[in-house]
């Protein structure tokens, strides 16, 4: 646990998820000092909270890869899928 931790908000969902799993595993291994356990637990709770929030607030991000005039590709933000569940035929 020596390396400096990134702030939870700076982690992607996947990174946060992987870190949480790692924390739980090291806690489950039972090989940590009590102080480390508590530190891990605190961090785990933080991650958990952030992940839950992100799940609840998730918004789809869609972009389209467009070729510039000079041929270079650039990502252009595009609309997310429509909310309506009705199928269009």
């Amino acid at each position: 646990m020596a390396e400096e931790k990134k702030k939870v908000e700076e982690l992607s969902y996947k990174e946060a998820s992987i870190e949480l799993e790692g924390i739980i595993r090291s806690l489950e291994s039972g090989e940590l000092e009590l102080e480390e356990s508590l530190e891990c637990y605190t961090r785990g709770v933080e991650l958990l909270k952030s992940l839950r929030t992100r799940l609840a607030d998730a918004e789809q991000k869609v972009s389209v890869l467009m070729a510039d005039i000079d041929g270079a590709d650039a990502l252009v933000p595009a609309e997310a899928a429509s909310d309506e569940d009705a199928l269009r035929f």
Binding site: L27, L34, L55, Q60, D73
Partner: protein
């Protein structure tokens, strides 16, 4: 019996209508056969129907080919069928090359095919199958080549047509399933002329997005076999296999299967299924989070419980160890306290006293014994001593006698010698040169001792003269011999 001109009895009389120019059946069949034989070898396109495989006994194949309005019997002899490159099946569109034949016994016309080949879609399918076999031989479809698609792809590129419903399906599916997945759409033609090249370029562009996507969805909606032929293109298949980013395919609908499906890293039956396969659903993620939440709490609880248990154990062990240690000390103390030196300190003195008494007794006894022995030895020595001195008295007497005799004999001996000596001394005295000297004579000494002649000297020589009472020393100043004097 005749009814309406038909002979129903079967006992026909001899042909009586020959004169009307009628042909026998044989003649008619021969004519037809001749006409059929005149038709050269032809190739017929038709759909196989009623095919039941080679005849079990003869090995020949009997079936029909048809089109929308007509059908005809078809035969492939055993030898020709053995040279086939694929098995015939009902519904196949085939090109059959051969000639008509009439089986005269029943007057049945058949087309005898010497060779056959797939036509239309069948031909395409065969070509696809051959390409598939080729790529498989090259190992492009090996499971070992297939890359793992992350369970949760957070960045996904979709290569497909941007105008169709498919891209919307993919977007909607992922929005509903997992909005955390970032979608990047890469547009391309998916059918028709130039579609494979555009798709290849699309794959290349998608793979070079920075940061690279976790996977690429190569998808297309359902369509006819010909529509989906784009995805059986060899160059596209090779591009899929070589793509640096794992490729998930969802082309057409089940049971459509394309070469791209086979060489991709994961094959899904539809675009929607492909989209669903790249990320877990929100519900699953929520479940996972829930489970993790539980595990987190349990793990901490377990840590605390284990810590408590360890402390209890340690405490018990410490108690036990301390108790045992104290017990050992107590025993040692008891043992020390029960030693005689502490319980009866005077016992040591008593013991020493007793020892001393015993030593004293032994000393006294030893002294007494020694005294006895010495006395006994003294007695023996005394008696021996007495014995040894008994012979001394006569010897002493004899010694006294001898002493007196010796005394007399010695006196007698010296008396005579003394008188002789006195006489001789007188004589000697009379003769002594010293006597002469005392009368006024002297002795001259030169360098070489006594000089008896004046000639022994020369002027300047050392001269010593002995007198009765001493010596005179000098130097010769002159020598005068008696002869010189006489001469002069």
């Amino acid at each position: 019996m005749r009814v309406n001109g038909w002979n129903l009895t079967g006992t026909a009389s001899a042909p009586s209508n020959a004169d009307r120019g009628a042909l026998s059946v044989s003649q008619a069949v021969d004519m037809a056969a001749g006409a059929l034989d005149a038709i050269p070898q032809i190739t017929v396109l038709g759909e196989v129907t009623g095919f039941r495989g080679p005849n079990a006994r003869s090995g020949h194949c009997y079936f029909q080919i048809k089109d929308d309005s007509c059908a005809m019997d078809c035969i492939i002899w055993k030898g020709s069928y053995a040279k086939r490159t694929f098995d015939l099946r009902d519904g196949m569109q085939v090109h059959l090359t051969g000639q008509f034949n009439l089986y005269k016994a029943v007057g049945k016309m058949s087309f005898v095919a010497r060779s056959f080949a797939l036509a239309g879609e069948g031909l395409l399918r065969q070509q696809v199958a051959e390409l598939a076999a080729k790529l498989q031989r090259e190992g492009l479809m090996d499971d070992a080549r297939k890359r793992r698609i992350p369970a949760f792809c957070s960045r996904v590129a979709v290569v497909t047509s941007l105008s169709g419903a498919v891209i919307d399906d993919v977007k909607r599916t992922l929005r509903r399933r997992n909005p955390l997945v970032e979608l990047i759409c890469v547009g391309s033609k998916v059918q028709g002329e130039g579609a494979p090249a555009e798709l290849i370029e699309g794959l290349r562009r998608a793979a070079s997005i920075d940061p690279a996507p976790d996977c690429i969805l190569l998808v297309r909606g359902g369509g006819s076999f010909e529509d989906l032929m784009t995805f059986n293109d060899e160059a596209l298949a090779r591009a899929v296999a070589a793509c640096p980013v794992p490729v998930v395919t969802g082309i057409g609908h089940e049971p459509d299967n394309s070469i791209c499906d086979m060489v991709g890293d994961r094959r899904c039956s539809t675009p929607t299924a492909a989209a669903e396969s790249v990320a877990p659903s929100m519900a699953e993620l929520a479940d996972v989070l829930e489970a993790r939440s539980h595990r987190l709490c349990r793990a901490l609880d377990a840590t605390v419980l284990a810590g408590n248990a360890a402390l209890d154990t340690a405490s018990r062990r410490a108690d036990r160890a301390l108790g045992a240690h104290l017990a050992r000390l107590r025993m040692a103390l008891d043992a020390a306290a029960s030693r005689p030196c502490l319980t009866r300190p005077d016992a040591v003195l008593e013991q020493r006293g007793a020892d001393l008494d015993m030593t004293q007794d032994r000393l006294v006894a030893a002294g007494t014994r020694m005294q006895h022995r010495m006395r006994e030895r003294l007695d023996v020595l005394a008696s021996r001593f007495e014995g040894s001195t008994s012979g001394l008295a006569p010897l002493r007497h004899e010694l006294a006698l001898s002493a007196s005799r010796l005394e007399h004999a010695g006196a007698a001996m010296t008396g005579r010698a003394a008188s002789e000596l006195a006489a001789q001394a007188g004589k000697l005295d009379a003769l002594s040169p010293l006597k002469v000297l005392s009368r006024g004579y002297s002795i001259a000494y030169g360098e070489d001792g006594v000089a008896t002649r004046a000639g022994a000297f020369a002027p300047g020589d050392a001269l010593r003269v002995r007198m009765a009472d001493g010596m005179v020393c000098g130097t010769v100043s002159q020598v005068e011999s008696n002869e010189d004097r006489t001469e002069n």
